[in-house]
Symmetry: C2
Subunit: 610 residues, 2 copies
């Protein structure tokens, strides 16, 4: 457990098989008089990337995907994964130990209703479930007359020998040169909004919210530069930060100033319990059930609402926007270098997926302010490109073959901005089908890139514009069209999204989202075209009556002209593509010389009429 | 009150002013020791069109709009209306008696928090609020330490002299020739779905659900052929119908058969109370709070869910679809007759809004199976066309002027189908601005008419496609793009809609919706182009991979070619318009002769290139 006073069990074992681990867990559960236990893929912060000590699901079952959960009863057990992982889970998890279930169409609460006996005592770790998730489990457990019991010591940890320790990386200031706004000003805004809502305090459990608020960064998880911590912000301006002292330095203390009260993580429970009679804002969809229990035990009045920092953080200020433009230009130089290299190296059959990903990383690494990749590169050729969340391994690695498509989705963390870009490239001559599909995806991408929409419009309302051309051909793709992106923070952040459902937040100027329609022909090829865009006012509309918004495209890299059927584009779409390419040529090309520059000039030439 | 045992007060008064009515109500409230009362525009069924005896809001305040509510405290009182009625309420309601409030941006619960005193006793009529509405009021009242008290006798009725009686129109069978499915089969499906959900019964409070289920029609409210009634359907197939015996006939009893148990309306409370220990489905968004109170008093287990008949009713069967096509052809003949007449009569200045509406009704009335208009015709010229819910009166009536637009939104109830169509016509020469706006609205209309979309798609997901062309010019319209339509039932029905928010039901084959984008320039002109469309499988997509749906356009009437800027249409849009006009010419034209036929041929000629 990443916080909250776990004590390591004294059970010592040599390295066990996954079946042995399951047996050992069941023994511990029986000793503690529990009939079952839930193991989600989660840490105490609901982080996207987990620290190694929170990888309990992988340790117990062998399943290495980024989302899932298991339920272990004395008999039976089941593992729940979504459509991305239905194949992978069969490779990695023994079907004799765990029944495979689809987490959406056959969710855990239904399985519990089928398998829990009346009066059973089902344990759960209240640090690893949000309050909303706990309440859903509770309904199922109550329906069958069983009980859901929080455990203070996670039973998996009792049997996990050599479990890694808590990550304790140094926390560093994130200078105003990049953040654009002093922490004191951000905290004053937050305190004012608490006051305006007649609330006394807000509990912050999302590390990126706290990192943004304090203008600090860390390295406790992969790819997202955040330190794990908790905080309580008070309406009177006080700010309690709960963070491991090993991660702090004198320089940081100076950066933070005297207004921040620093506590060890173990002090959180006591402080929550001390909020008696206070009105406390807390987010049921991100805060652990443990937080709610402590607040209720302390007789605080809970006001449920979304983490208020999430929206403030999503709306980038002018300094952050300038930073992301600079980072994207730098990223464009690396991408063009890579695409040029690929155009020469791949057609001969000398490039494989692992090699391409490494080469792209090598092009990025020398960039100013470069710190890390923003996620593990998706480098998929041919059929591997059709696997939406593909991660190349030594086993899956394949050479980029002739007449195949190669899809590369990658990004970087620069001090001044986070990038995320996907390009799909034909190796040799593409088929007419590939070109038709690519052009339809491109039409969707341009549909969003050129869209104007009134203030108040949400991502769900505009998602179809990216799909329309595919729909007309009886096609679609099974992922969202866009996700929010942070400023040297998470490559996935809320609250804004562009997707069929669940994107109910209005898009507002300063928000960064991806624009990434795709098409996937299973077992054959995959296509995705992804640029990041910033929401911006559309002030250039003659005769317009309403305040309108649009998107400023941030990503700068050529789109493979060899995959475009020009006759399928209308004149406005051609104009957009040519203008975008001219901009890439001018801005990125100005920083290149020699063969790479020559290649870029050719790759960004205007479309010819078919 | 429309049911539930109201006793008429003995207070007798001569006709009172609205101020006197308010004083009289306050006197009654004080006598009953109440500090306030809520008067919604609602009846016990949440009908769209209220019977006259439920028009308490209009009687008390003078406000004649279709939505709103008032809150009357000893001091002060307020009336709440939405954006459609902010001007009208000032004309009709005395600001000295009632504060004007916007029902969305300054809703009643906030006003109550501001104005209710602690320990106040606020009365409400539990027949006139849904359970959801009651719970929202309850939160506000509790927040200030006051009490929300249900009253059994509505205090308005105690002071409303000569209040109309309950409507008691005859109920008639709706033959299988039009309904397409026997009531017994519909009821068997409903009983099976109750069994599948482990429920014992469902309470039905929406008269159109019951009319559909029993294949009966009535005339208790304007424009929608439904009888007011309640029902309880049981999982074992029993069916209890609560309906005034005066509305029944021997022929109807024979039509219904012996499986229906008929009770007077007063028996409903007793039957609900008798469902002790049963699991009972009831819809909190349509059923009155009174229903919930009776079920809870009887110790039933309440399962909240949407009225299950609503979705079944929305998915029309083949007979109903054939019926609506026949009705729309008939309606098209009337519309073409009207538009032809208008083209000759209006340019001379001899037509006013009232006259045009009467003429259109006269063209419809002789049609086979015609029974009624489906709503009061919106007949607006020039600036009146920009009022979205305009209803022409003797005072507002104006002559259709030269170089103006005329907007006519109308529909009819035929035994075999319900119609709803809007056409916007230029009287004389339109301005370039009118043509530009009309063409953008048309592009949105065609965008939906030609759209294909995957199964599972909702109205919110596709609404923007109807707005996109307006958005690009900085324009929009402030109403939904489409509403569900019944089969010789409500011209507005759920659950499907096409709108920016709240249209979360998947569009399914057989559903009928309107396709009606618009544009309104306040004080100058209004544009709307409305056809009804039926959702249908799109089976003609070569190479398509997914089950796709599309829309079959039902409405048959020419769209004013003189308002179209052909160069703004792309080739696909031109093709759609020409094909639609060719279809209108062929299908409607085949039933016309003489001058009307000649006019139609010219009005539906292919577009010429600009």
């Amino acid at each position: 457990m990443s916080c909250g006073g776990t004590s390591r069990s004294l059970v010592l074992m040599t390295d066990l098989s996954h079946s042995q681990r399951l047996r050992a867990l069941r023994t511990v559960l029986a000793e503690q008089d529990f009939d079952g236990f839930i193991i989600p893929h989660a840490d105490a912060h609901q982080n996207e990337f987990l620290p190694p000590n929170a990888e309990r699901l992988a340790w117990l079952t062998g399943f290495a995907g980024s989302a899932g959960s298991a339920a272990v009863l004395a008999e039976p057990a089941a593992i729940f994964v979504d459509g991305r992982y239905t194949l992978q889970v069969r490779d990695q998890v023994d079907g004799a130990d765990y029944a495979y279930r689809h987490s959406v169409t056959a969710p855990m609460d239904d399985w519990l209703r089928e398998n829990l006996l009346p009066k059973a005592r089902l344990a759960f770790d209240p640090w690893l479930h949000t309050q909303t998730q706990r309440e859903r489990l509770e309904r199922a457990v109550k329906d069958v007359g069983a009980a859901l019991v929080p455990v203070m010591d996670n039973p998996v940890d009792a049997v996990w020998e050599n479990r890694p320790g808590e990550p304790l990386t140094p926390i560093v200031p994130h200078p105003e040169q990049f953040s654009g706004l002093r922490s004191a000003a951000k905290r004053a805004d937050l305190a004012a909004s608490l006051g305006a809502n007649a609330l006394d305090a807000v509990v912050l459990t999302q590390p990126d919210s706290i990192a943004w608020l304090l203008n600090v960064r860390g390295n406790d998880v992969d790819h997202t530069p955040l330190p794990l911590s908790f905080a309580i912000a008070h309406a009177d301006g006080r700010f309690d930060w709960f963070v491991a002292p090993e991660k702090l330095s004198d320089a940081l203390a100076q950066h933070l100033g005297s207004e921040i009260s620093i506590h060890g993580p173990d002090a959180l429970g006591g402080e929550l319990g001390g909020l008696a009679q206070k009105r406390v804002w807390v987010c049921p969809n991100s805060a652990a059930a443990w937080i709610f229990d402590r607040l209720m035990a302390g007789e605080a009045t809970i006001a449920r609402g979304p983490d208020p920092v999430t929206l403030s953080k999503a709306i980038k200020n002018e300094i952050e926007l300038a930073g992301t433009r600079a980072a994207h230009l730098r990223d464009g130089v690396a991408l063009v270098g890579f695409l040029h290299w690929l155009s020469e190296a791949a057609p001969g059959g000398g490039v494989d997926e692992l090699g391409a990903a490494a080469k792209l990383a090598a092009f990025r690494a020398p960039g100013e302010h470069f710190r890390d990749l923003s996620f593990g590169t998706i480098s998929g050729s041919g059929p591997n490109g059709a696997i939406v969340h593909y991660r190349v391994t030594e086993e899956s690695n394949r050479v980029l073959g002739a007449s195949e498509l190669y899809l590369v989705d990658s990004g970087a963390q620069y001090l001044d901005g986070t990038t995320d870009v996907t390009r799909t490239v034909a190796i040799g001559a593409p088929s007419a089908e590939m070109q038709d599909r690519f052009t339809r995806v491109l039409k969707g991408h341009i549909g969003l890139a050129t869209l104007r929409f009134p203030e108040g419009t949400t991502g769900t309302q505009i998602d179809a514009l990216a799909r329309q051309s595919l729909w007309q051909a009886g096609l679609d793709y099974d992922h969202g069209t866009g996700h929010g992106v942070g400023s040297y923070l998470g490559v996935h952040e809320g609250p804004q999204r562009i997707s069929k459902v669940g994107a109910g937040t209005a898009l507002q100027p300063g928000m960064i989202v991806s624009n990434e329609p795709g098409y996937y022909k299973e077992g054959v090829f995959g296509i995705r075209i992804e640029n990041l865009v910033a929401v911006s006012p559309a002030t250039d509309i003659a005769g317009g009556e309403r305040a309108m918004l649009g998107f400023e495209t941030l990503t700068l890299a050529p789109i493979d002209r060899g995959l475009i059927v020009t006759s399928l584009l209308n004149p406005d779409e051609r104009d957009w593509l040519d203008a975008y390419h001219a901009r890439v040529r001018e801005e990125v090309g100005g920083l290149l010389t020699g063969a790479a520059h020559d290649w870029l000039v050719a790759a960004t030439a205007p479309l010819e009429n078919d």
